[in-house]
């Protein structure tokens, strides 16, 4: 009885949306808006968590290989640079760790709701919040990893020629790695409001 009511309510929402769209000029009742609303919030949350860890690790790995290949080559003629320049690799690695931390936090936010409430506005909101949080963290870490990697490569090559340059370029790298932190902060704030409807 309850589910049929809920289904009728969902259909009512869709017809209202369709009517609104028809009035605003779009014709089809089965529109993209309707399709999006029908996707389960669990899907969005899971994809968000996957993107958060996956794309962050992509960024970190990209940065590490950019910096690592230059570091290895430069260290042949100037072996003294190896230990100091591992710090660039560590900054890139930190980006991956941010991704892991946020993924773990997000997955604790993923709760079960009864199927009657699954397409409530509150549920959808929680699903979208986790998805957005994942995207924020993933892509912020992707570009942060790239940035730190490219600077780390230049840092290794400059250090090999002139060792006074290392600390100055390191400051640039520190500013670059702050980008990942911005992403993590905003992502965690977004996910804090992912409250699923209570039973």
């Amino acid at each position: 009885m309850c589910t049929r009511e809920r289904e009728r309510e969902a259909d009512l929402v869709i017809t209202i949306l369709a009517r609104r769209e028809r009035m605003s000029g779009m014709v089809d009742a089965s529109s993209w808006g309707a399709a999006l609303v029908r996707i389960s919030p669990y899907t969005f949350s899971a994809i968000g968590i996957a993107i958060s860890i996956g794309v962050s690790v992509l960024g970190a790995a990209w940065g590490i290989y950019i910096t690592g290949s230059s570091l290895i080559g430069a260290a042949i003629e100037a072996p003294r640079i190896t230990s100091k320049n591992l710090i660039s690799v560590i900054f890139c690695e930190a980006v991956a760790i941010y991704g892991v931390i946020v993924a773990i936090i997000l997955q604790t936010k993923l709760e079960s709701v009864p199927s009657s409430k699954m397409y409530d506005a509150e549920s959808l909101r929680a699903g979208y919040a986790i998805f957005a949080s994942g995207i924020i963290v993933g892509f912020a870490n992707l570009v942060c990893g790239l940035c730190v990697g490219i600077i780390g490569s230049s840092c290794a090559l400059s250090d090999a020629q002139n060792s006074t340059l290392f600390v100055k370029i390191l400051v640039i790298e520190i500013f670059g790695s702050a980008l990942g932190l911005f992403g993590v902060i905003v992502g965690i704030i977004m996910s804090a409001q992912a409250t699923w409807p209570t039973k």
Partner: protein
């Protein structure tokens, strides 16, 4: 995509770029050259060089040294560096590195053909060839009587084959034709290299275009100056100029009709990059021109190292090493012949 090479260059080129920059740090500085200029004899030079990267190459040479030995061993270092980089490179960097040696191949071909014309022994000539420009069957060049045979017997199997289409004639090889052949081959080689770099795109294309354009213009000026007063017609002279560079096409038309050096100077001073070079020389003087061109070339090559993630650093390093070997040869000759006052005439300082 220009500007985003930093994202993918290091996959294949990161290690080698770092290695070439390490080699660049080993080039001789002004302080080294000052030490070398103070030397009394070649053994002193050997001692000073043993503190540089050339040390391991020179240490087993017995005294008394000759200048040719010093130059030979230093060239050996250049060849070793080049081969090390070539065997680690993937496409398209390996093609780029191969292009760098075609210029030496052309020089070797011309050396052997000229030497054979003057009845020198083939083995002796092969020893004088630049090691970077060696290829199999180079000794067969001594057999050819004219250019068609040269092409058919030897050069069709070498990478120089496509450059021969413009100079296949059945004329006999004499000094004038050989010089024309050399310049025609070099023109085809430069244009081919230029097109290849344009195809690579990005920072490589931009920096290499600048370096190759300067090379093309320099050769145009040298061809003009060397052919003043010879029987080379204006049409022939114009055919030897490359189809790119700052001077193309209007500068070439003006250079083709020049009959003496002051006219050449008049033409070149219309172009700002070359005005600076020509303004350093007083009227009627052409000995300083070579050195002025070398200095300008070295300045541009050093600038190529300012940018990361492109292939022009390899080209620049090879050229800078060659300039350094020329410097060492000049210094050794001056010291060996006790003419140290003339050392500074021809040494081009790099950093």
């Amino acid at each position: 995509m220009y500007g985003f090479e930093a994202l993918t260059f290091n996959i294949h080129g990161g290690y080698l770029e770092a290695i070439v920059r390490g080699h660049r740090a080993g080039l001789l500085t002004t302080a080294d050259y000052n030490n070398l200029c103070q030397c009394e004899n070649l053994d002193d030079i050997k001692m000073h060089l043993s503190a540089t990267k050339y040390g391991s190459y020179l240490q087993n040479e017995p005294s008394p040294l000759h200048t040719t030995t010093i130059v030979e061993k230093c060239t050996l270092k250049l060849v070793d560096d080049y081969k090390h980089m070539l065997c680690q490179a993937t496409e398209p960097m390996s093609t780029f590195l191969e292009y760098i040696r075609y210029g030496h191949m052309i020089d070797n071909v011309v050396l052997i053909v000229t030497g054979t014309l003057h009845e020198r022994d083939v083995q002796e000539l092969i020893e004088k060839c630049h090691p970077l420009g060696m290829f199999d069957s180079i000794a067969t060049l001594a057999v050819a009587q004219n250019m068609r045979e040269l092409y058919r017997l030897v050069l069709v199997d070498t990478p120089l084959a496509p450059y021969f289409s413009e100079c296949l004639t059945s004329e006999d090889l004499d000094d004038m034709n050989i010089e024309i052949m050399r310049n025609t081959l070099y023109k085809a080689y430069l244009e081919d290299f230029y097109k290849f770099c344009q195809k690579l795109g990005g920072a490589t294309a931009e920096i290499m275009s600048d370096l190759l354009a300067f090379e093309a213009d320099r050769r145009a000026v040298n061809i003009t100056i060397n052919s003043i007063g010879t029987e080379l017609t204006r049409e022939d002279r114009k055919k030897l100029y490359s189809n790119f560079g700052f001077l193309y096409p209007y500068g070439h038309e003006e250079l083709a009709i020049c009959e003496d050096i002051d006219q050449v100077r008049g033409v070149m001073e219309k172009y700002p990059p070359y005005q600076a070079i020509f303004s350093k020389m007083s009227y009627g003087e052409s000995q300083m021109l070579d050195k002025a061109f070398y200095e300008e070339e070295v300045r541009r090559l050093c600038l190529a190292f300012e940018q990361q993630f492109h292939y022009a650093v390899f080209f620049a390093y090879m050229r800078l090493r060659e300039q350094e070997i020329r410097n060492l040869m000049w210094i050794s000759e001056c010291v060996a012949q006790n003419q140290k006052s003339r050392i500074h005439d021809s040494v081009v300082y790099m950093f």
